[in-house]
């Protein structure tokens, strides 16, 4: 094995040359591969014409380094706390949600400087002065405005912490390197990339003109070159920062709005770009506003993407155990999770079982307005007191299990004032986000016990309609001023209310009957195994044998005969519950046993409703 590793390293070195530090000097590798590829292109005075929208080998080098040679862990993770510390033009990683799409940008991809072809790919500003005029090629890149995933829970950051920036002298800005030298071996300096509050900063005490960063409690020194937090951007209230990601060589349709992805590329910050645009000779620039002018490099970092991949819940797990999801293994974890859920829910077995099914649900298919696979849950019988006990425990647990979750206090005031609906601001050309701009797999818990009597203003009414549509068809209407654009979502919705919710028509309504309050503590191993369990089961395929379907169909028909009030919503829910039950045991195919289990759950639930 060692030999193959050495072989691979030598091969990579041959491609780029060992002198190129891919993390500290990625552009060096880009240029080297470009020159090599241009030289290799046989014939013609325009060897680089073929490189339009294609990778000449640069991205391949990085891909191999990151995923085959374990380089991923060496790349720092960009977040609110280390924005100002990372040296420009080094390699970074950013995990976030695509909040806005800013279209295409045309740039001089390749130009001829004398007799050499040079490239501007992966940079904002040409490192070599472009002779004017010169032969050049206009290439395109796509701009995506990304933010940290709303509701991202802190455990997700442990999965891929990135290296300690202290150790990476070549990636620190010159100021930080100086500080490091001065402070010597002071242990108080812990620049952790997790952005957790409580870690202290590089300097021991803040200077007077330091900028207080609202997101973390760490105080960072500010210098003219440090990008300040753009927490004041009214388009993304609540986000501590955002990143302008520029993606190359890819059809734009591969990235969808609200996708969660990891982008790895060149971190750019150019003081030259940061300087305010001089009153240029050409009046044209005063008249046509550029959307990216609102995202100045002094406030919003740019990431020129070399490699990217979509992230799902599985990618946020700390250790990526390449374990087969065998039914025997899953059954055990299921049992332990179920017992824990029962404890959290005051020993209410029925509620715990329903909660498990709910946490395992996801949208399977969508046909017009009919969605299959969702299972929103409404626990009734909660009051302010029980919410403060069980609701709180439940919330803590969900935060520990789901990668992104939010708890929403559904009071009249909230409904009348919250911005749920994302809206396009045509004056600025950007999308103003709303609470309902969520990634696939997000979890929302609504506390409806806060709902007092009162009147709903028109905004409140609009918000309830939005929530109702979200629940019933997993669609959110975005307001584009002259028309509405519907965006599909796939989020899990849990409601805690006193009576059956009027506002949010959940699929499954369960009266909550807690008997005892117990202290609940899960170990981190348990939490990790449950997280893996939930993510894995959700991704299992579901199917069933035709005979089983036939039996189920017959049973449904007789049930309908006995109870005229049954409609396709109930029947669909029964089937969903049965299929999720099967998945929860690790089975890929629905069996009659699982169908019976789901029916039994329904029976107990119906009994309780009476």
């Amino acid at each position: 094995r060692r030999e193959s590793e050495i072989h691979r390293r030598r091969k990579a070195e041959r491609m780029v040359g060992p002198q190129y530090d891919l993390v500290g000097n990625p552009l060096g590798a880009v240029r080297a591969t470009f020159e090599r590829a241009a030289a290799a292109e046989s014939g013609g005075r325009d060897p680089v014409a073929a490189f339009r929208s294609k990778d000449w080998g640069a991205s391949e080098v990085f891909r191999s380094f990151l995923f085959e040679q374990g380089g991923l862990d060496k790349v720092p993770l960009l977040d609110a706390s280390n924005l100002g510390l990372i040296k420009p033009n080094t390699l970074v990683r950013f995990r976030g949600m695509v909040q806005d799409m800013l279209g295409n940008e045309f740039y001089a991809g390749a130009f001829k400087d004398g007799s050499t072809w040079r490239t501007n790919k992966f940079t904002d500003f040409s490192p070599f002065a472009m002779p004017h005029p010169c032969d050049s090629h206009l290439w395109e890149r796509h701009l995506f405005h990304c933010v940290p995933v709303p509701g991202q829970n802190s455990w997700t950051l442990e999965s891929s912490p990135g290296p300690d920036l202290r150790q990476m002298a070549n990636c620190l800005t010159p100021e930080q390197r100086e500080k490091r030298k001065r402070d010597g071996d002071d242990d108080a300096m812990d620049v952790s990339e997790n952005g957790n509050g409580g870690s202290s900063s590089c300097s021991k005490k803040p200077k007077e003109d330091d900028v207080q960063i609202p997101s973390s409690s760490a105080e960072m020194p500010a210098s003219e070159n440090v990008p300040q937090m753009n927490g004041n951007d009214h388009h993304i209230p609540g986000s501590s920062f955002s990143c302008l990601v520029k993606i190359y060589d890819m059809p734009e349709s591969q990235v969808k709005l609200n996708d969660v992805a990891e982008f790895i590329g060149v971190y750019t910050f150019d003081p030259e770009l940061a300087a305010p645009n001089d009153n240029s000779d050409d009046i044209m620039f005063d008249l046509i506003e550029d959307v990216t002018a609102q995202l100045p490099p002094s406030k919003v970092p740019r990431l020129h993407c070399l490699v990217w991949r979509k992230l799902s819940s599985v990618d946020f797990l700390a250790k990526h155990p390449a374990v087969e999801p065998l039914p025997s293994l899953l059954k055990g974890i299921r049992q332990s999770l179920l017992s824990h859920l029962t404890l959290v829910l005051g020993k209410d077995d029925l509620a715990a079982n329903c909660l498990l099914l709910h946490l395992l649900s996801r949208l399977r298919t969508r046909v017009d307005v009919v969605t299959v696979g969702r299972l929103s849950l409404n626990f009734t019988g909660f009051n302010r007191e029980s919410v403060s006990i069980f609701g709180k425990q439940l919330n803590t647990l969900i935060q520990g299990l789901m990668p992104y979750s939010q708890a929403i206090p559904l009071s009249i005031e909230y409904l009348n004032t919250a911005t749920l609906q994302p809206r396009k601001d045509n004056k600025s050309g950007r999308l103003v986000t709303g609470v309902l701009q969520l990634p696939q797999g997000a979890h929302l818990t609504f506390d409806e016990t806060l709902l007092q009597s009162g009147s709903l203003a028109s905004k409140g009414v609009e918000n309830t309609v939005l929530l109702k549509n979200l629940m019933e068809s997993q669609m959110v209407e975005y307001d584009f001023e002259y028309y509405k654009l519907e965006m599909a979502t796939d989020v899990q919705l849990l409601t805690l209310s006193e009576g059956k919710s009027n506002i949010l028509p959940s699929d499954l309504v369960v009266p909550f009957r807690a008997s005892t309050v117990s202290a609940v503590n899960a170990t981190s191993e348990e939490l990790e195994s449950w997280r893996w369990y939930l993510a894995t089961v959700r991704s299992l395929p579901q199917s069933s044998e035709p005979e089983i379907y036939q039996t189920i169909q017959d049973e449904m028909v007789s049930a309908m005969r006995n109870d005229r009030s049954l409609g396709c919503t109930e029947l669909s829910r029964w089937l969903t519950m049965a299929q999720i039950t099967a998945s929860s045991f690790g089975e890929k195919s629905l069996s009659l046993e699982h169908w019976q289990m789901a029916k039994e759950l329904e029976r107990l639930r119906k009994e309780r409703m009476q």
Partner: protein
């Protein structure tokens, strides 16, 4: 190199002159130029189909490298217009050219505008989402130097100009000898300028994608031709501007569409344009003896009879003349009309006929109409004491209302 350029321009101009004049013998475009001169417009719209029929190669080149043809085309039409009517154009004025008609692959949405379209002519459809203010842009500035009593002028060109390199926009304040200059604003030439943003129509947006936007520049007679919310089809040149940062090239390019023709795709936008022929015929009709009968009979021809009702409707649509008497009495020129009759005598049908003719017409029933757009008063009927809602006509439009319903007390209109 300059000479070659001028030769090419002259050749292109000749090609357009051929097209306008020869015109497959039909003279359609000469007529169009005449109409344009007569209605005092300064833009001629050329159909691509007609151009293709005349010279396929020319049409192709116009779409692929319009920069070489816009100025010659404008020169050609200006020359023709001058020959037709020497007084039509002032010194230095020119006629502009717009294009319409099938563009094939060059008919695109904002999403399709890739770098391969840069420098070509495209027809883009979308929704206007933002309109800037209309600003005057200086085209030529004239300066007077008191010291030497000499005038000098300077021209300014930018990306919207088709000939010459872009100039800066700096005003000269001194001449080459350092003497102070005074700007003669009255002699300067300006051009109206406006920028628009156009977005992809929502029906075309792919799931999970946000509609794309393209910036458009409209000038001269095209300013204020549309407002945010309108669906439009804009024909123009798709050009790239080099980005600038501290005077040097930054490597990033902005793109913009320089419009030469804007058509509104809304249904309401199809206002009729009257040609000289139409006006001539209208005058002929007015000289007849039975004009009034003719008009009455022409209204809602599918309804038989009711000639006096129809004549009354014609008078309603024409309106009267407002009078202000010496004693201060103001007499309105509008007429209101109320048709009463048994059911099924075609009252509503006549109203509908009016709706199809009047440029602005809304129809409403008494019930269910909000106060917006309607002025109404509640009065009591002398005989029965019931309250009735009475509807007045709107300003600049026609309001037809069916089925007056008795209104309860306290109900506001």
């Amino acid at each position: 190199a300059m000479d070659v350029n001028e030769e090419a321009m002259a050749a292109n101009k000749r090609a357009f002159l051929d097209f306008l004049d020869q015109d497959v013998g039909k003279g359609v475009y000469m007529q169009a130029v005449r109409d344009m001169v007569q209605s005092k417009r300064h833009r001629l719209t050329i159909g691509m189909d007609d151009l293709r029929n005349h010279n396929l190669d020319l049409a192709r080149r116009v779409i692929r490298s319009p920069g070489e043809f816009m100025q010659p085309a404008s020169d050609a039409v200006t020359e023709v217009a001058r020959n037709l009517d020497p007084k039509f154009l002032k010194e230095g004025e020119r006629v502009l050219v717009g294009f319409t008609g099938p563009f094939g692959f060059h008919r695109v949405t904002p999403r399709d505008l890739m770098s391969s379209f840069i420098g070509t002519m495209v027809c883009v459809e979308g929704i206007v989402t933002k309109c800037s203010l209309v600003r005057p842009k200086v085209v030529k500035s004239v300066h007077y130097c008191p010291a030497t009593a000499a005038f000098m002028s300077r021209e300014y060109r930018d990306i919207t100009s088709f000939v010459g390199l872009p100039t800066g926009s700096v005003y000269p304040t001194r001449d080459e000898n350092g003497n102070l200059l005074v700007t003669e604003y009255g002699m300067c030439q300006y051009k109206d300028h406006q920028t628009l943003s156009m977005q992809e129509v929502p029906e075309n947006a792919a799931p999970g994608q946000l509609p794309r936007t393209v910036d458009v520049i409209v000038e001269d007679d095209l300013v204020d031709c549309c407002k945010p919310g309108d669906r439009v089809s804009i024909v123009g040149l798709y050009k790239a501007l080099p980005g600038k940062s501290k005077g040097s090239v930054s490597g990033v390019f902005r793109t913009v569409l320089i419009a030469n023709n804007v058509s509104l795709l809304n249904k309401e936008a199809n206002a009729p344009v009257y040609t000289r022929e139409d006006l001539k015929r209208m005058k002929e009709i007015s000289r007849r003896n039975d004009t009034f009968d003719l008009l009455g009979n022409s209204l809602a021809p599918s309804i038989y009879g009711h000639i006096w009702i129809k004549k009354a409707v014609v008078l309603l649509m024409l309106g009267g003349v407002e009078k202000n008497l010496k004693n201060g009495t103001h007499l309105r020129g509008d007429i209101n009309m109320m048709m009463v009759g048994d059911p099924s005598v075609a009252k509503s049908q006549l109203l509908r006929a009016v709706m199809n003719i009047a440029p602005l017409a809304i129809s409403t029933t008494g019930r269910g109409s909000s106060g917006v757009g309607l002025t109404a008063a509640v009065t009591s009927d002398q005989e029965t004491g019931k309250l009735l809602k009475v509807v007045h006509t709107l300003m600049f439009g026609f309001c037809t209302s069916s089925n007056q319903m008795p209104v309860s007390r306290g109900k506001k209109a």
